[in-house]
């Protein structure tokens, strides 16, 4: 399936004359401006990414912000209590409820969200007119650039108790249910919000995979008498398979991440029983009711399990002969 390649082959490294390799000091003298360029970004990450990552150790403290004048002082003065926070956490039903909600939402979205971008990509790929196609593409990518506040607000205006649907139904003499405050339909609500916001954007990678399928395969299959369905089953699906498997595995590895703002914004309206996920639990435990250590412990639990899931999922990806998130070297 190799089309004539217009891409320049990889540049061959210039072969040095066999001189002795440069010493570290000489290389440093040669390259220091490049390293200097990396320093600002590294410093920002050190302070706002890695320092807080290390700060997770307060999960093992009875952290008391009033123990010192600054958070650092307070950290140094606070008492170390080993796994006390974790013990408290694991004995708290509300924590397990948030874990259950998180996993439930992940499972739900795996079934009802995951196929949507694939279906959209297939639909779009079958449009022949390039203009219509790029118009539809522009429209469905757009909501990806809206904030969650905006998306939830728009849903409130459409589906809420005083929203457009309720208003139209009232005019027609019906009463529409208020979807925005109903815990029973909450999974459907958040999934449709996720679809509205991101399904179009998620479609890009599938469109790319579809574009990479050699059209000659379709022609050859058609010449051999394969109809639409068989071409789809034997060419399109196998062409998409690596991408689907990879994204599925990545999503599994990310099972504890369902997003934060979407739930933070709707937790009050829908109620904690349905809308409390791990991330909101961390927030309301830690910053809301000021149990800093417990909140940090929940966060650390999530981070560690998340890391294990990612690495595990990646291992599965390699087992299946897929590439995974980092290549196995």
């Amino acid at each position: 399936m190799s089309a004539p390649s217009l891409v320049k082959p990889e540049a061959v490294p210039v072969t040095r004359s066999p001189a002795k390799p440069l010493t570290f000091g000489a290389r440093l003298r040669r390259d220091w401006p490049l390293i200097l360029m990396c320093v600002p970004a590294m410093l920002l990450l050190a302070v706002f990414h890695y320092l807080p990552a290390l700060g997770n150790v307060i999960a093992f403290q009875d952290y008391n912000p009033f123990a010192g004048d600054s958070p650092l002082q307070a950290f140094l003065q606070s008492e170390w209590i080993g796994f006390g926070n974790f013990q408290y956490l694991f004995e708290t039903p509300a924590f397990w409820e948030s874990v259950r909600n998180t996993l439930g939402i992940t499972a739900f979205q795996l079934i009802f969200y995951f196929p949507v971008p694939i279906a959209l990509a297939l639909l779009l790929n079958s449009i022949m007119s390039p203009r219509l196609r790029s118009f539809v593409q522009s429209v469905v990518y757009l909501p990806h650039f809206f904030s969650w506040v905006l998306v939830v607000s728009l849903f409130q205006m459409m589906l809420g108790g005083a929203g457009l649907i309720a208003q139209t139904a009232r005019d027609a003499g019906f009463t529409a249910p208020d979807f925005m405050t109903n815990p029973d339909t909450f999974y459907f609500l958040i999934t449709s919000q996720a679809i509205w916001k991101d399904a179009g954007w998620g479609m890009i990678v599938f469109l790319a995979a579809l574009a990479a399928i050699d059209p000659n395969l379709y022609e050859a299959a058609a010449a051999d008498g394969a109809g639409r369905m068989r071409r789809f089953w034997h060419i399109t699906l196998p062409g998409l398979r690596p991408v689907i498997v990879l994204l599925l595995i990545l999503r599994l590895g990310d099972a504890l991440n369902v997003g934060f703002e979407q739930f933070y914004l709707q937790r009050e309206a829908v109620g904690r029983d349905a809308a409390e996920v791990l991330d909101t639990y961390v927030y309301f435990q830690g910053i809301g009711v000021q149990q800093w250590g417990v909140g940090a412990a929940a966060g650390l639990f999530k981070a560690l399990v998340g890391l294990l899931l990612i690495l595990g999922a990646n291992k599965i990806a390699h087992r299946l002969g897929e590439q995974g998130i980092y290549s196995k070297s």
């Binding site: 290389r27 040669r30 920002l44 706002f48 990552a53 997770n56 409130q156």
Partner: protein
């Protein structure tokens, strides 16, 4: 991409000669679904814009949200932009977006260029340092303690610095920089140009499009910033637009501190007091318009880049 497939015979409607004629039912179904998808995105936006431009009478006649435009009454916009919370919020968000994007783009471009030549000293450990951010997250609680510990409570920098560097954007830029032929850079070096001069005189002019897109991505992120404002800002006059949107639409606050109840005089319309609903919708439009403006640029350059990157694997 010019491949042999592009040269194959096609029917006038773009269909390859071997493909079956589409069935009437199939075309009808496809058309319906496509129309539905497009309407699902556009109708809410349309209703918001039309309602924001409506007068009290129109809104009352419609019973709330307005679908068919009957007039062009910008009084809601005049009110929210003549002082008050929304005006403050727009200024705050603009400031945060401009300063944040400038900072983020500067440090990201510098680091991406610094890392664009494998084989330089310490290249691998520094790259690893950036990539590790994908695996290790800072927790929310320690982040909060660090930012407040630095005295950034009620300081707009709290919306900027914690999110200033995205390793993803860095990797995207670095990949592009690595694609620039090294002969070009070497010849400049032989002519005596230093690394900073090479970056600003050769590399950046060659990568204007990708740099612009990364900048726009940062800008959209800063404009959409919401939760950091919940965490770090208590003062009312420092809230960004997303937070004001949340207060008015989701928390059901009456937009009085955005000027509801005040009367404005408009040429051609006369004295008019915009209804609360129109004011709320105008706030929605204000939060959404910047995304709409930058969107065509992102659309043009980035989607192409993503697709090329994804195909290459």
């Amino acid at each position: 991409m010019t491949t042999l497939a592009a040269l194959k015979p096609r029917r006038p409607d773009g269909r390859p000669v071997w493909e079956e004629k589409p069935t009437l039912l199939g075309r009808f179904g496809k058309g319906t679904i496509l129309t539905l998808v497009v309407l699902l995105v556009l109708v809410p936006l349309w209703v918001v814009v039309v309602t924001s431009l409506s007068s009290t009478e129109t809104i009352d006649a419609a019973g709330g949200y307005v679908f068919l435009p009957r007039e062009f009454n910008p009084s809601a916009y005049v009110v929210i932009f003549s002082g008050g919370q929304v005006t403050d919020a727009v200024l705050v968000s603009t400031l945060v977006t401009v300063i944040g994007t400038a900072l983020s783009l500067t440090v990201t471009v510098l680091a991406a260029y610094g890392l664009s030549r494998p084989g330089t000293v310490l290249h691998r450990p520094i790259l690893f340092y950036f990539l590790l951010t994908f695996l290790i997250y800072p927790g929310m609680i320690p982040s909060y303690l660090v930012v407040t510990g630095l005295g950034l409570k009620d300081n707009l920098l709290a919306l900027v610095v914690p999110a200033a560097v995205s390793a993803f954007n860095l990797v995207v830029l670095r990949a592009f920089f690595m694609g620039i032929p090294s002969e070009l850079l070497d010849s400049a070096r032989i002519d005596g140009a230093g690394e900073f001069r090479i970056l600003f005189r050769i590399v950046l002019p060659l990568s204007r499009a990708v740099t612009a897109v990364v900048g726009l991505f940062y800008a959209v992120g800063y404009w959409n910033t919401f939760f950091n404002a919940v965490l770090y800002l208590d003062r009312n006059d420092l809230q960004p637009v997303q937070r004001v949107l949340q207060m008015f639409i989701l928390a059901g606050q009456s937009p009085t501190n955005a000027g509801a109840g005040s009367v404005v005089h408009l040429p051609g319309i006369g004295y008019t007091a915009p209804p609360n609903l129109a004011i709320k919708m105008a706030v929605v439009v204000v939060t959404l318009v910047p995304a709409l403006i930058v969107y065509p640029f992102i659309q043009r350059h980035f989607t192409k880049g993503v697709i090329v990157g994804a195909v290459k694997g």
